[in-house]
Amino acid sequence: MHEHLKPILEGLLFLSGDEGITMEQLLDCLEEVSKEELEETLDTMMKAYLENTHGIELVRFGGVYKFVSKESIHPYAQRLFSSTKMSTLSSAALETLAIVAYKQPITRVEIEEIRGVNCDMMVRKLLARNLIKECGRTDAPGRPFLYEVTEEFMDTFKLESLKELPDLPEFKEERDEELFE
């Protein structure tokens, strides 16, 4: 372990607040330290802050490390701060995001084929909220845009990377199983 790194990282992460810090930024800043050392120290810190004695935790969503207050603090924060508004995402938005996350890069028409509804407006809303972004075009007629999820998406859904996406449920015929009941 690299005990001397911990206070430095704690201080820097505190200062950076909700902007957070990426591994690349840390490597630039702490030239003499290897990526492995940093990762190891950050992992240890993440575990340490999970302890009940702490009201904040260290998270890494979409490759960005940052401190956030724990869920348990939220009721108190609501009393203390006036602007702790919660925003909501509609189920239509959630569905569309799920499709993009699993199928990216994907065109709007492909999303529409799965959802069975027009998604023009929804795609524009998700772009405006920076939850998806354009990532090139296909060669299909009209050269439609391809979309993928953003780092903000990862942060919004507590994901370190797309590898963490839950497995898509499989729906299988159940008749076979009934035979053995």
Partner: protein, 245 residues
């Protein structure tokens, strides 16, 4: 049958179909298209009768269901029924329903994560950092007016979009009842048979074609007209009830 659930509780026609399948305890892997189509049609009719706008997507899917059903219903000797084609259509729909269901289910997990994340908060970057930020000379900022307008666009777009995400965008369209009246009027002075295409000559959108088609179905149901299909698959509309010989 009482429909207590409103159409805007569904995310689209596939969602509605999944609901109807579950509600009627249909087997998705051995889907009874007749029951599904009837239920679906009843549902949309109920919505129409409550003067609720039904989005075009629902009508487009209805057209598919009706096509399948009508091929099944028509006298066998009159139409060459391609069993394979029909099975394909059904399988295609089941495949779409299954695919859609996967994303629908998984999005519930997204929702949970989202809610958890909403309870975790952070703070802005510390003011202290200003003094270090300031070491960069202002001259290095390379701004251009386009960045500004792009930024303003983002702001305005967000404002325009900050209405409830659920607002359904539907163009005000001709209702089924209005169309039925129109068609009756046109057929009143018409002698002989009119092709469905002619009937649609005043349609300026797919939606209107579908409404026209639904009106024709409605008129058939009420025995005001009947129809035949010729070898070229042209639908001919005939006034009054015709008894198949």
């Amino acid at each position: 049958m009482a429909f207590t659930i409103m159409i805007d509780q569904f995310e689209g026609p596939l969602d509605l179909m999944l609901h109807l399948i579950k509600d009627n305890k249909l087997d998705l892997f051995d889907l009874d298209m007749n029951i599904l189509t009837d239920q679906y049609l009843q549902y949309l009719n109920a919505m129409e009768s409550m003067h609720l706008e039904v989005a075009s997507e629902y009508l487009a899917e209805l057209a598919g269901l009706l096509e399948y059903k009508s091929k099944k219903l028509l006298p066998r000797e009159k139409v060459v029924i391609e069993e394979e084609y029909e099975e394909d259509q059904r399988e295609k729909l089941v495949k779409r329903l299954l695919e859609y269901q996967r994303y629908k289910e998984v999005s519930a997990q997204f929702e949970q994560k989202y809610e958890e994340r909403q309870l975790m908060m952070s703070k802005p970057i510390s003011e202290e950092t200003n003094k270090w930020v300031h070491t960069v000379t202002e001259a290095e900022i390379d701004g251009n007016p386009y960045d500004l307008i792009k930024a303003m666009n983002r702001v305005l777009r967000r404002m325009a979009l900050s209405h409830p995400l659920e607002t359904r965008m539907t163009v005000k369209e001709l209702s089924l009842d209005e169309r039925v009246v129109q068609i009756k009027k046109r057929l009143r002075d018409f002698v002989g048979k009119m092709s469905f295409e002619d009937l649609c000559s005043d349609c300026d959108s797919l939606h209107m074609v579908i409404v026209t088609f639904l009106s024709v179905l409605d008129l058939i149901k009420h025995k005001e007209i009947t129809f035949t299909l010729d070898a070229q698959d042209v639908i001919w509309i005939i006034k009054g009830e015709v008894v198949y010989a």
